[in-house]
């Protein structure tokens, strides 16, 4: 490239940049993470959310009137993304809905080698089948034991709540939230939900324990819970800490390239320095 050509190129690039800047329109505000506020004091245990979820996702819709599911503790499963469990607590019986918590910094996403597990810009943590190689690290890493594997399928998938992200894309709420007859579930931006949750505690300090589960747990989650009794009584883990799970491995992972490339270079340099120069021996001799 000669001087003339270089100047031409720079000139064209500069003009393009300037034009681009002139055309730049006010950009839309950055999307905020969405989530759901669960007020367990409002839940009546009707399990309409379970039915709505199953119906939306094409799973077998539970016979909520006859299956006696509240008599035992249940976990989510490949064809049941959410369950409502009944707890006998110091404050009477309490119903608690469970599903993926949609962490802010999800351990499953950090653990996924192929980026099949993916945190979308608006909050839902989704699983993308084309990328998945079936290692199930997401299941091991999840602090809430949420992702489930279809062990009995010939082409198994990871199954977990995806916060109905396809519905969200059409401006609709998650199916469970829409089905809840008591607004025990409330969908919104986390910023707003936190404000609402705090206001409820502030307005009814005797009705709630003064804690919002999910505000800080594992760095914050998309689903937030309010309760009248300590969360330990409702089967919530209190030992998770407030550090996002990916943080635990970040230092190590950043250290790997340093060790892999830095250490050999250092050793080689030492080797070069300690090696007697080719001419030295002869001079002394």
């Amino acid at each position: 490239m000669n001087r003339r050509r270089f100047l031409e190129t720079v000139g064209v690039a500069g003009a393009t940049l300037a034009a681009g800047a002139a055309r730049a329109e006010p950009t839309a505000p950055a999307p905020e993470f969405c989530g759901v506020l669960v007020d367990t004091t409002r839940c009546i245990g009707c399990r309409a959310c379970e039915r709505a979820c199953a119906s939306e996702q094409g799973f077998p819709v539970p016979e909520v009137e006859h299956d006696g599911a509240l008599e035992r503790m249940r976990d989510t499963s490949p064809d049941r993304w959410t369950v409502v469990n009944r707890y006998q607590t110091s404050g009477g019986e309490v119903f608690v809905k469970r599903q993926c918590m949609h962490c802010w910094q999800p351990a499953c996403v950090a653990a996924c080698l192929t980026r099949a597990m993916y945190k979308t810009e608006t909050g839902p943590v989704i699983w993308r089948s084309p990328q998945c190689m079936g290692c199930r690290y997401c299941m091991v890493s999840c602090p809430f034991d949420v992702p489930k594997f279809e062990y009995h399928e010939w082409n198994p998938k990871i199954q977990k709540c995806d916060l109905c992200w396809r519905r969200l894309a059409h401006g609709r709420k998650p199916a469970c939230v829409e089905a809840c007859p008591t607004d025990a579930l409330m969908f919104g931006r986390k910023r707003d939900l936190m404000e609402i949750a705090r206001t409820r505690i502030y307005n009814h300090p005797d009705r709630y324990v003064h804690k919002i589960y999910g505000e800080h747990e594992v760095g914050g989650t998309g689903w937030l819970y309010l309760a009248a009794v300590p969360f330990e009584e409702l089967g919530f883990r209190a030992d998770l800490g407030t550090t996002p799970y990916p943080e635990y491995t970040r230092d190590f992972l950043y250290g790997v390239p340093l060790v892999l490339f830095g250490l050999p270079a250092l050793l080689y340099a030492l080797h070069e320095l300690s090696e007697p120069r080719a001419g030295e021996g002869r001079d002394e001799a």
Partner: protein, 163 residues
């Protein structure tokens, strides 16, 4: 040879997925019944509900205001208080006299689906309507509550969110 094509498709899919999700959350949350066809009886999102209106009003002798607004509700904060001196429920708010079609206003017009702020945390229309039924027909909890859904919502429709 198929690998570049596959990864390209995957990348494309990812871009589309992200765009779709972004578009979804950017738009305002939907408010049920706020459209042009808003009526006093909002269409339930979960199955159609039956409510024998005549039976409640005529046979059981309910006053309109008993269901259509709680008489002991907190005072409504409205911009023109002079119109609402004594009554908690003013029929004229919804049923305007002299108008050819007295279109009743949707409950959701005040009882918002998605509170915009804490100051706006009125109970949503969905909850308010459910509660007014539960005043007499106890919702119960657990299995009882599950069975209760079918009392009004048509069989098999419970939990099946309308498309």
């Amino acid at each position: 040879m198929s690998r570049p094509a596959g990864s390209l498709a995957a990348a494309g899919l990812r871009v589309v997925a992200v765009l779709v999700v972004v578009a979804g959350c950017g738009s305002a949350p939907p408010v049920a019944g706020a459209g042009e066809d808003a009526t006093a009886a909002p269409r339930p999102v979960v199955g159609e509900a039956r409510f024998p209106h005549d039976m409640h009003a005529e046979d059981l002798g309910f006053e309109c205001a008993e269901c259509h607004h709680e008489t002991n509700a907190a005072r409504l904060r409205v911009p023109h208080e002079e119109y609402f001196e004594d009554l908690w429920i003013e029929c004229g708010i919804c049923h305007r006299e002299g108008e050819a079609a007295a279109t009743p206003q949707s409950c959701a017009a005040c009882h918002h689906d998605s509170p915009a702020s804490t100051a706006d945390e009125t109970l949503s229309a969905k909850v308010v309507i459910h509660r007014s039924c539960w005043g007499c027909h106890d919702s119960g909890t657990g299995v009882e509550a599950s069975r209760g859904c079918g009392f009004c919502h048509l069989d098999g429709a419970i939990g099946e969110v309308m498309p």
